[in-house]
């Protein structure tokens, strides 16, 4: 019995010590854990293996990748921090609560010295006004993305249905309403419009794009906006404007006409999913997503196809925020220096950036050069064709994030895009401007009670108004009075004061 006990003790000790000894063995590559947003793609492991081979060679480390699905931004993502999950780098964006989490020290501050030492190319290559956007209370908590991206709402309609019902081409809101009527009256089993998790794009199409306003993306519940063409804008709460009321009237009329599905408040699918599943005839989303939805329809093998249009005319558009896809280092990270080195390497080395963003050239039908030529006759390497296994986020193989580098940014070939998509993409880009308030982040740390109460009111009264389920005559007044009871005026005062201070100190 004693021998057995001793043997068991020895085994237990060995079981405890052997992994520990292994972990500290000198010269072994270090594991660096990244948490990204999205889903693991079919060939993810193959691509990651290729990346890790190079990383081991250059930095003696390798990446382990975990994903947080888009649908779990509000649940799993905050739990990673609350549970002190072991991670060395994590995706961050204004829509994942970057500013709130930074104010609570969930992310490590990235000092200028750190960035210059461990990510020198990225530090130099990224303009200072882009770094400024990542600052929360004057400190940098993320490496921003470098990406030409237009996320303003555009419109995609089922072209096959337009032809089927002999509807004239859609060029403006009036002709769109003719199309919506035709779908409502003739097509059973397809809703003209169904808004779900992405329900804010109709505000872009019907209001913000044309009148050149931008909303505060960090805190949508406080409904603050500013004029993007004003070099020193004064932010305002758009709930009190006539333009907002006019937009609500339009949406309410659409809802009453049956053009907006009654399922919009309970639907949790994205516009792209609804389109791919044949449930809707019109989607309002960014141009890239509409182009991807068209690809889904093509892959389904049916006769369906999309037409794309943009109603913003020649209005200026706000360039997409650098905080829309970043990498932050959580405060519990064990290898912050390595994370910065990895970012610097993958972002700025052409071969590595191709791997990260596009996958493996020619292999397993992941991607190919499309063959479009530059003016000097050389192949334009940024115009590519994605193969059938390029995954649903073709062009961002591993992640939307700080790995993006606009020098190597890929765009789909004309052949594989919706007719007009490339023109809209470049036209919107030519009209994109920056505004100083993009770099302003409201410090809400002293107003968390109001922010939480406003979020509750916004969800309960705001969303039904925005989707036309509540009559704005009376409904808007009730919404505003509930918002004011929850502290809206206090927040507006604090916000405008902070913004004025920011403008004064950054003039």
């Amino acid at each position: 019995m004693k021998i057995l006990t001793k043997l068991l003790c020895a085994l237990l000790m060995a079981a405890l010590l052997i992994p520990a000894m292994g972990a500290f063995a000198e010269g072994d590559p270090t594991e660096v854990i990244f948490y990204f947003l999205g889903e693991e793609l079919e060939d993810d492991k193959v691509v990651l293996e290729a990346i890790n081979e190079k990383l081991i060679e250059k930095l003696n480390c390798y990446m382990s990748v975990e994903y947080v699905p888009f649908g779990e931004i509000g649940t799993t993502y905050p739990l990673l921090f609350a549970s002190q999950t072991r991670m060395d780098a994590v995706f961050s964006a204004y829509f994942t609560g970057y500013a709130s989490l930074a104010q609570k020290n969930a992310y490590m501050e990235l000092t200028e010295d750190m960035l210059k030492e461990y990510a020198p190319i990225t530090w130099e290559h990224t303009p200072q006004d882009v770094w400024a956007q990542t600052k929360v209370n004057g400190k940098i908590y993320a490496v921003p993305q470098e990406m030409i991206q237009n996320i303003q709402g555009t419109i995609g309609i089922r072209g096959d249905l337009r032809e089927k019902y002999d509807v004239p081409p859609v060029t403006d809101i009036e002709s769109l309403e003719v199309y919506l009527t035709a779908i409502k009256e003739n097509e059973t089993g397809v809703a003209p419009l169904l808004f779900g998790s992405m329900y804010t794009y109709q505000q872009d199409v019907l209001l913000f794009n044309e009148i050149e306003w931008a909303r505060d993306g960090n805190y949508s519940q406080i409904c603050m906006a500013y004029d993007i063409t004003d070099p020193a804008p004064t932010p305002f709460c758009y709930l009190y404007t006539d333009e907002f009321k006019a937009m609500l009237d339009t949406v309410y009329r659409w809802n009453q006409n049956g053009w907006i599905s009654r399922d919009s408040l309970s639907n949790t699918h994205t516009n792209r999913e609804n389109m791919a599943n044949g449930r809707i005839a019109v989607m309002m989303d960014n141009a890239g997503t509409i182009n991807s939805a068209n690809k889904d329809l093509r892959d389904n093998g049916g006769p369906e196809y999309l037409e794309i249009m943009d109603f913003s005319g020649d209005a200026s558009l706000l360039r997409y925020a650098a905080t829309g896809g970043q990498l932050s280092i959580p405060s519990q990270s064990q290898h912050p220096e390595l994370v910065l080195q990895i970012i610097d390497y993958l972002r700025n080395d052409k071969e590595m950036n191709y791997l990260v963003e596009r996958g493996i050239y020619g292999e397993d039908a992941q991607w190919y050069f499309a063959g479009e030529l530059n003016e000097d006759g050389s192949v334009n390497e940024n115009v590519i064709s994605f193969g059938e296994r390029s995954g649903q986020y073709g062009g961002n193989w591993i992640c939307w994030s700080a790995f993006r580098n606009w020098d190597y940014q890929a765009i789909e070939s004309i052949d594989s895009s919706i007719p007009g998509y490339r023109e809209i993409f470049f036209d919107m880009d030519s009209r994109s401007i920056n505004n100083i308030l993009q770099a302003f982040t409201f410090d809400a740390s002293n107003y968390q009670n109001e922010m939480a109460a406003l979020q509750g009111v916004y969800d309960e009264f705001g969303k039904p108004l925005l989707l036309g389920f509540t009559d704005p005559n009376g409904g808007l007044e009730q919404f505003i009075s509930m918002m004011e009871a929850a502290g809206l005026k206090t927040i507006i005062d604090a916000y405008t004061t902070q913004a004025a201070d920011f403008l004064a100190s950054n003039a």
Partner: protein, 309 residues
């Protein structure tokens, strides 16, 4: 007295080693998962900061409770939480007892097994799946029910924008999911009643109804009271999974469907204020504790043998 208490404890430990060993895992479980985390309740009075942690973060007094009351929703969501729980407790207990009695009366072995299995099955289906099934049934444009109604030229029903349907849906689905499992507890209590009592009653000429009325129901009375007290102990907690998966972020239904847990989840989704969510958790716990004490006191007065203590 203190000395005697510990003296008795040591004596009991020595004398009932096997019993104490059996209860040890439960004690350890409660210590680790119920008592130790109570220390974390302190976060309800702090402004949580990731680098300072629970104990290093600054104190904010009762400030974390304020958002719940300035929103104007505190009374409504508290009322909804309690009323739904009362409805669930009432309907489910009645159904569970009824089902348990029927099952105990059924003599056909296979029919009994199949019935029991079919009723037990929903307990293993997650609310996520139930939410998806409900959406595919009730969806206005794509749901099964409305497709059938359309094919019959009948008007569609708009479940997802009409609040009045939802109390019935919740009570029905909650019962569908839990009655099978709950009836097992009552069935066990009925099985524990001596068969000799039923035989004596039969000899005295009692019919089936009389046996149920005068033997079975009194026999499961103590089980009923224990389950009732335990359920009331959670009366201020909403079943987050059920309410959130079935309703989601549908503002038109909140008046009828919002419970404390869903309201707090939505409000704090973007602020990451763990102090505030803990504050509301504490608010629920205190109310549950007070209710449980009062309920037990009432039962103690009415039927002392069925009270917890």
């Amino acid at each position: 007295m203190k000395f005697k208490l510990f003296g008795n404890l040591a004596y009991d430990l020595r004398r009932n080693k096997a019993l104490m060993a059996m209860v040890l895992p439960v004690v350890a479980y409660l210590l680790v998962f119920a008592y130790a985390p109570m220390v974390g309740a302190v976060i309800a009075f702090k402004s949580y900061n990731f680098t300072s942690g629970i104990f290093g973060s600054p104190w904010v007094g009762f400030n974390n409770f304020r958002f719940f009351f300035i929103s104007g929703k505190a009374w409504q969501v508290t009322k909804n939480t309690v009323l739904y729980n009362v409805a669930f407790i009432a309907t489910q207990n009645v159904l569970e007892i009824t089902v348990a009695i029927f099952l105990s009366e059924i003599s056909h072995r296979y029919f009994k097994k199949i019935t029991q299995g079919a009723m037990f099955l929903p307990n293993f289906i997650s609310w996520v799946v139930v939410g998806a099934i409900a959406y595919n049934l009730f969806s206005y444009d794509f749901g099964f029910i409305n497709n059938v109604l359309t094919s019959l030229n009948a008007p569609k029903i708009d479940v997802y924008t009409t609040a009045k349907y939802w109390p019935h849906i919740f009570v029905f689905l909650s019962a569908w999911k839990h009655v099978g499992y709950g009836s097992i507890v009552y069935l066990a209590a009925i099985t524990g009643i001596s068969s000799e009592i039923y035989e004596s009653a039969a000899l005295d000429g009692a019919n089936e109804w009389q046996k149920i009325r005068y033997i079975t129901l009194p026999g499961i009375q103590s089980t009923f009271f224990v389950l009732l007290i335990l359920a009331i102990g959670n009366i201020f907690r909403g079943n987050f999974d059920m309410f959130y998966q079935l309703v989601g972020n549908n503002g038109l239904l909140y008046n009828a469907t919002d419970v404390i847990d869903t309201y707090v989840f939505r409000s704090l989704l973007t602020t990451y204020e763990f102090g505030m969510s803990s504050a509301i958790g504490l608010y629920q716990s205190v109310l549950c504790f007070v209710t449980l004490i009062i309920t037990n006191a009432i039962i103690h007065r009415v039927s002392p043998e069925n009270a917890l203590y």
